[in-house]
């Protein structure tokens, strides 16, 4: 068993970054995720593993530092919260175009604009539909516990390097700030410069004499080549959809209704299920772990089993619900419930919504 600690979600993410053998973290403070860089600075990871931690002048600069270090084959991370993640979208689009691996976290707060510092899940569209300009996707992991804040750093880097893609850990103010027991994985080694140069020929590490130079770019003025590059990206995303869907089914075996939720909403929904079943309502929970890729096939299979209704629960005005509707595709009733602007819904409110919007009508 690994080392057990009581930690905040943000701290667990930071500790996991050190233990995952991350080479560099570039960040900028913003509530409610500032503990990530604070923890890293306090831990002196340059002494523990040689990891670089730098507070950038902006989220823009931070993501572009990530772009540079990732382009040079290093394991590199950043994190922020909603307004800051909006600023990072330019860099993320370049990272997608240039196919660079990286992991970043968004500890989501309520918006729009400066919004609030309280938790929210209103960045779903930005996270799963691209976010920046151009046709691209990123893998989105949604932790529902402090444990997953740590574990998804490791998983995130595995996926990021396997597919040369940005992996977003889409957290929220609840998961980032809450304290829970976490079992930390063992320290992993960092790769040497020589290992990187050998293992990642796409990375810019210096051109060997007589060898072809390596170029990291998202630009091609030849539109035919750019279309081919886009085809290549879409094939990669299709492979990810095929292979990397992750989810959890809770009490769905006998369910007539299913709540779909992720992150802190999924925690709340578990209590709703308990309350509902006490009233004789057979409801289960589909807890999304990956938001992209989305479990379309799995939802369609559940539809075939005769699920009567779906309630998408999210702290937003209704974003994920659109993907649930697309997956259900008319084979069942779909509704949304969620508080937003920084308000966290209660299990009772979710149950009431289930009864009124799905069962009642």
């Amino acid at each position: 068993m690994g080392e057990l600690r009581l930690m905040k979600g943000n701290e667990a993410l930071a500790e996991a970054a050190i233990r995952a053998g991350v080479d560099a973290y570039f960040g900028y403070p913003i509530t409610p995720q500032s503990e990530v860089i604070e923890y890293l600075m306090a831990e002196k990871p340059e002494e523990r593993t040689g990891m670089v931690v730098l507070q950038a002048e902006s989220e823009l600069a931070a993501i572009n530092m990530v772009y540079g270090a990732a382009g040079a084959g290093k394991k590199v991370m950043t994190s922020s919260s909603s307004p800051g993640v909006s600023l990072k979208q330019e860099g993320l689009s370049y990272i997608a175009g240039a196919e660079l691996p990286c992991v970043y976290a968004n500890v989501v707060r309520g918006g729009p604009g400066l919004g609030t510092i309280q938790p929210s899940q209103a960045d779903y569209f930005q996270s799963v539909k691209g976010g920046g300009h151009g046709d691209y996707k990123q893998i989105v992991l949604a932790p529902a516990s402090v444990q997953e804040m740590a574990d998804f750093v490791k998983l995130g880097f595995e996926l990021a390097f396997q597919y040369r893609i940005a992996v977003l850990i889409l957290s929220d103010g609840v998961i980032g700030q809450m304290m829970e027991k976490v079992e930390l994985f063992e320290q992993m080694p960092r790769m040497s410069d020589d290992e990187i140069a050998e293992k990642y020929p796409w990375a810019v590490t210096g051109k060997k004499k007589g060898a072809e130079r390596t170029i990291i770019t998202s630009l091609d003025l030849d539109s035919r080549k750019m279309e081919e590059h886009n085809h290549h990206l879409q094939r990669k995303y299709a492979e990810i959809i095929d292979k990397e869907v992750r989810y959890e089914l809770i009490q769905c075996d006998d369910a007539e209704y299913i709540i779909v939720a992720y992150g802190s909403s999924a925690r709340i929904a578990q209590k709703t299920i308990q309350l509902a079943r006490e009233k004789g309502i057979k409801v289960g929970l589909l807890r999304l772990i990956t938001l992209f890729p989305f479990p379309n096939v799995q939802i369609q299979e559940l539809c075939k089993r005769g699920i009567k209704g779906w309630l998408a629960v999210e702290m937003s005005a209704g974003q994920m619900v659109e993907d649930v509707m697309l997956a259900v595709n008319g084979n069942g009733k779909v509704a949304h419930y969620g508080r937003y602007g920084g308000i966290v819904h209660t299990p009772e409110e979710v149950l009431q919504a289930l009864e009124e919007k799905i069962i009642g009508e």
Binding site: N64, M65, Y67, A72
Partner: protein, 264 residues
Amino acid sequence: MSTITLEDIIKPENLVYKKTELLTDNVMSYCPGCGHGTAHRITMEVIEEFDLEEKTIGIAPVGCSVLAYEFMNIDMIQAAHGRAPAVATGIKRVYPNKIVFSYQGDGDLAAIGTAETIHACNRGERIVIIFINNGIYGMTGGQMAPTTLPGMISSTSPYGRVVESMGNPLKITELVAQLPGTYFVTRQAVHTPAAVRRTKRAIKKAFENQLTNKPGLSFVEIVSNCNSGWKMTPVDSNIWMEENMFPYYPLGDIKVDGELVKQK
């Protein structure tokens, strides 16, 4: 005296100058007479002379030199507009033993990338920035730049730059020289053989500073022409540059070995 023919002179053993192998054979996409090509070439010559090819990573900007990686025959990353100093920081911090430089124009470095420029300088990142200042946005068709001179015509200042409403030309090189993080700051040109020789020495010093891990950033501005944007012949644009750009952007070292050069 015996007559000597061209065939007698043009022999491999008499070769004294040819384009460095660290420039590719791709035809440069710059307009005829544009100083970018010269700046590329002398930068690559310095990397070749220091034998840094295997450990150098260059950052191309957005602007006319966005395709610098097509011409510079070394490992290169193309950065988002203005973000090259941040990209360079990211690389240098994880590879302190590699040589990292960004190559940027005035719009990239002194407008959209002002924050990245100033903070990379202020942190004293041990990188080289080569800054081409031609007072205009060349790539997008000759719009006003942060460095466009007062009264200067561009496609977005068609009646000349009015400083009262459009602001003043930004002397960002003097500005970064004030920051303790810069170690070497100079302003040069590449329009005459003598200017090219001086600029190459400056670039050499900049890379040498990084190579010997001097504490701070080396910043080389090259005031250059944009004959297409200025709507002149290449030769005329260089004369116009001497008469108009140099008085506002005087050439010479501004900071050497971490010390501001006393103004005469």
